[in-house]
């Protein structure tokens, strides 16, 4: 059994290495400006964010809707710390160049982004994690909104630039010129790898126990609050890094983008991929981004085939079609693409798991 496990690990690593090679190849053949590369970048960033949300919602059974708030904190921490000194006066045009008068390196800034998000999560988690089910959902949603309002507050403008844009910080394109995709994949890969290691550790098992049955988990000596807090903080840590990566991807940053709609979108990705499946979330992220921002774009264009105007196609139809697909998944394919299994488990002996949990 052990040998088999090793073989599988080596095989998985080989596949990952192959994918990375392919990514480098794609970028070098089609150029970093091509649609494929852009979509792959965003897909990778969303994959990390979706996996971080899955850690909470899918693996620990905590229905939290605060992801956008933690991404916001991560994104702002990163941007504030990395905007070059020379550009600060232009960016903080209403606030005399802002109060942060130093910059740090890109990777340390990414780490700080995660840590800041985690710190906030620890603070927020203390009261909020005592709530259950949908109350937790609505409270975290509320906190995310409060964070967004706070960041845009004029009084802390010297720090956050109020509701104005942050720009000129290092982006994905400048981080590792020529190999943006490799850089994105590396950061995201390391983060997801860490999450996977955690999920398969004894702590990960405890998270799953809490998801399956809180009362039994507590009777097994698992301190519910501490473990929930851990999951919440770790999820937020990676959401913070994900937020920073999203900021790097966008090239400019504004608190207004991090609305609850963003959280919903990530939640839907997690659902489509399968609650409790890391590989499902990754697959669904790429698929979701590719469909919604690339392949289905033609639905928005009024199209004539000969003299025949294709019905329904008009601006906004893409989103309608897309939301219908999502409803179909939610209603009829509730387990999503992967259920709660992983790609690399597909060949294993474990039986299909029941879709219904909680009660």
């Amino acid at each position: 059994m052990k040998k088999k496990g090793n073989l599988r690990l080596i095989l998985s690593l080989a596949v990952v290495a192959l994918l990375y090679g392919a990514a480098v190849l794609v970028e070098h053949t089609s150029g970093s400006k091509s649609m494929v590369v852009t979509v792959l970048q965003k897909g990778a960033v969303y994959a990390l964010i979706a996996v971080s949300m899955n850690l909470l919602n899918g693996f620990t059974g905590l229905f939290s809707l605060g992801q956008a708030g933690f991404m916001l904190i991560g994104a702002y921490s990163y941007a504030i710390l990395t905007i070059p000194m020379a550009k600060r006066a232009a960016v903080y045009q209403y606030y005399d160049g802002g109060i942060v008068q130093f910059t740090i390196g890109l990777l340390p800034a990414l780490l700080v982004a995660g840590v800041m998000a985690a710190l906030f999560a620890a603070l927020i988690g203390m009261p909020v994690l005592r709530l259950k089910g949908d109350y937790l959902a609505i409270a975290t949603l509320g906190f995310a909104e409060i964070i967004r309002a706070f960041v845009q507050w004029d009084a802390i403008g010297p720090l956050t630039n109020g509701s104005n844009l942050l720009k000129t910080y290092p982006t994905l394109k400048t981080a590792m010129p020529g190999n943006t995709l490799l850089f994105t994949f590396l950061v995201v890969g390391v983060c997801i790898g860490l999450i996977l290691l955690l999920i398969n550790s004894t702590y990960g098992r405890a998270f799953k126990a809490i998801r399956d049955d809180e009362i039994a988990a507590e009777a097994m000596g698992i301190n519910l609050f501490r473990h929930k807090q851990m999951a919440f903080v770790i999820s937020s840590f990676f959401a913070g890094i994900g937020g920073a990566l999203l900021a790097m991807y966008q090239g400019s940053l504004q608190a207004n983008g991090f609305k609850s709609a963003m959280t919903y979108e990530i939640l839907l990705i997690v659902v489509i991929g399968g609650m409790g499946s890391v590989s499902g979330s990754i697959l669904a992220s790429f698929l979701f981004i590719a469909c919604s921002e690339w392949w289905l774009r033609f639905l928005d264009a009024e199209t004539m085939i000969g003299n025949f105007q294709v019905p329904l196609l008009a601006p906004g139809f893409r989103m309608v079609a897309f939301s219908i697909v999502i409803m179909v998944v939610v209603l009829f394919f509730r387990k999503g693409i992967m259920g709660d299994r992983e790609l690399w488990e597909l060949g294993s002996r474990r039986q299909a798991k029941g879709g219904g949990r909680n009660k």
Partner: protein
Amino acid sequence: MFDTLLPYLLAGISVGGQYAMIAVGYTLVYGILRLINFAHGDIFTAAGFFMVYLAAAMPPALAIPLVIILTVALGFTVERVAYKPLRSAPRMSIMISAIGVSYLLQNLMWYLTGGLARQYPVLPGLGDSIQIGSASTKVVTLVTPVLTVALVVALVMLIKRTKIGMAMRAVSVDFETAQLMGIKINNVISFTFIIGSAMAAIGSLLYFTNYTAVTPTIGAMPGLKAFVAAVFGGIGSIPGAMIGALIIGICENLIKAAGLTMFSDAFTFALLIIVLLVRPTGLFGEKTTEKV
């Protein structure tokens, strides 16, 4: 002092009453399905659009009942299509479905209306300005609290006195047992959505008469606030929802009066979190224990 505060209070009571109309839908549905019906705010928006389009084609006397009927039909359909198939599914699934419906309705409304704000028709009488003391406001500001109280009283009577009301109470106490006792769960749930949607439709008439622009996402914020009101008042309690909504409406306006305008929405969420932590059952809710 009072002269200065009067307009804020009037606005607060009025908007609070309108939140109350929406909050009733949340509190009833949550009481029975334990579901935060995220799509409720969008059903409220849809009611606004129905009026915009119907009023262009017919007199208000005809349009108003038709708006209520259409909104009820929408609420009913949403329940049947998106919630009923998930009756035995985990709670998280049904909530995700609710978020999905909200997403769908917003996108659909955007697609159909083009997204430009639509001017709400002026309802005769309600939209006129009147002078109260030093404050000038719309007639609807005065009508709202009266109508809200009347409807809430009627609703409480309905739930206390009628057979269907009794069935609703039974289902909200214990879903399975009520089913075993021969109560047709699906009918009761549908009825709940019908009442909630009808209230949302009436609420939209008042709300949009006061705030005359309708856009596809305009209902999201009042929806969330109404939900907070329902939690604040004690989920499941209709008078609680009304009082919670009035308090939120007034506080919101007083906060703006104090100049802290940008935190008027954040306040609502802060209130929600405080209530959930200090008294999760709200002002009028009852405590339940989980069986091991």
